[in-house]
Amino acid sequence: MDFSFYLIIIPKLLSGLPMTLQLTAISVSLGFILALTLALLLQTKQRLVTLPIRTFVAIFRGTPLLLQIFLIYYGLGQFRKDLQFVGLWGFFREPYWCAILALSLNTAAYGSEILRGAIKSVPKGLVEAARASGLSYYLTMRLVVLPIALRQAIPSYGNEIILMVKGTSLASVVTLMEVTGIAHGLISETYRAIEVFVCAGAIYLTINFLIIRGLAALEHRLSPPYLRKRT
């Protein structure tokens, strides 16, 4: 074991950490807002509303994330003139925003299904009781359904956030230097694939471990005492 080599590559890999974290944080936040909006819109029975959403979800869940990043970055890059015409080129010119867009849309598609399921899992009796007590539909949603649904969604939404952390590793294909991109560069400089990938893997593992612990704490806090796991 050559520890001095690890001491050289770890700081270099960590220099990609801010990019990885930024991409994750921004796309998970934007994705969550969009996912919640879509999940709520899916509560209506209006086909005019649900059909486009279902199509969007089907496309973004049914195709690889790598392909989506490629299409948004290199694909739309070929429509530069049209994008300039509508004033969107400034956005699509930057690999950073293209990656954020692809990651956000992807996680929104998965997230909306998670939240839709969570909303559906709230016992009907609770909703009926709330309505019978005179709460409006909006208030029932806000005060009864969503708090329970969001708490119940935490384990599966946690999965999705972890997938996003790992998904950011694809951003290097659009020239962004996050942890994996830097890892590839280091391998080509040192020709030592195992050590570099092990370190990169350890970085992702650490991020995800912290996220898992954070979400577990959040779930514990949001649960009423009788639902809390004894620790």
Partner: protein, 278 residues
């Protein structure tokens, strides 16, 4: 359960089998398959290009059975070291840094590197296009200082994990923003889209790019750099301990240079002669 064991055993056997050429008369040659006109994949999935043709010629001269496979550029040297194949022929420069971990045949081509830019950009108007050896420190320094103000603040695209990237980083790292791409194709797409102001590459490769639709308004600009950090030209990479194979490749390349095969193949694929010493 037994089935699972069998499956695992088969997989293990397969993974051990790779690279077990040693005594036999067959070798596996890896190329990128995405670096036209040196090596690329045709629309029907076949490998083609200068190096693919050359590899076949060399194998004939060495009287060996060759399998030519495509391999991602960035993982090529680790894969060679791991014995996944025996030879790299992928437009790879023989550099001091690579010689620390692997071995090379003698060069089979010399190809200087330049920028490609839009025809009406500053860089296109005001530089000459002569060949400059980086070994000639004074002349090289002058050429680089002349380029520096023209490149200041520009974004330049280059393939990742290449000596071309190292060149940009070493000589222009403080002046330009470098974007790295997995393949030259992606680099070209971003030049066309206007996301980068210039791209940097081997001249023959840039020339092939500019022949494509959509690149009419672009041209090759600046001096053609070679030598120095670019090493001794393009050679066939082998493992460090594979002296026998290296010797064989050397004499085959020598013979291909002498009988004009390399000249003929390079003119066929690149329109110029890139034989070493030409």
């Amino acid at each position: 359960m037994k089935k699972t064991f069998n499956l695992i055993a088969t997989l293990l056997a397969l993974s051990v089998y790779q690279g077990a050429h040693a005594a036999s008369n067959s070798i596996t040659i890896a190329t990128e398959g995405a670096y036209p006109p040196w090596n690329f994949t045709t629309s029907d999935g076949q490998l083609a290009g200068f190096e693919v043709d050359l590899a076949k010629v060399l194998c004939k001269k060495m009287a060996m059975d060759c399998t030519i496979i495509a391999q991602d550029w960035s993982g090529m040297i680790p894969a060679l070291k791991a014995g996944k194949f025996d030879v790299i022929m992928a437009g790879m420069f023989i550099t001091d840094k690579r010689l620390e971990v692997m071995s090379f045949s003698q060069p089979y081509a010399i190809d200087p590197s330049s920028f490609a830019v839009e025809k009406d950009s500053e860089l296109a108007k005001s530089t000459d296009s002569e060949k400059v050896s980086l070994n000639d420190t004074e002349k090289a320094q002058a050429a680089i200082e002349k380029l520096r103000p023209l490149l200041k603040g520009k974004t330049v695209g280059v393939q990742a994990s290449t000596t071309l990237y190292e060149f940009l980083k070493k000589y222009f790292g403080d002046d330009i923003k470098i974007r790295t791409y997995k393949t030259t194709e992606q680099r070209d797409l971003d030049l066309e889209a206007g996301r980068v102001d210039a791209i940097y590459g081997q001249r023959t490769v840039l020339a092939a790019t500019l022949k494509n639709d959509g690149f009419q308004d672009f041209m090759i600009a600046g001096p053609g750099f070679y030598g120095g950090i670019f090493g001794r030209g393009v050679g066939a990479g082998v493992r460090k301990d594979d002296d026998k194979l290296r010797e064989k490749l050397n004499s085959a390349i020598q013979s291909a240079i002498a009988d004009g095969t390399i000249k003929q193949l390079s003119e066929k694929w690149m329109g110029v002669d890139i034989t070493p010493g030409s």
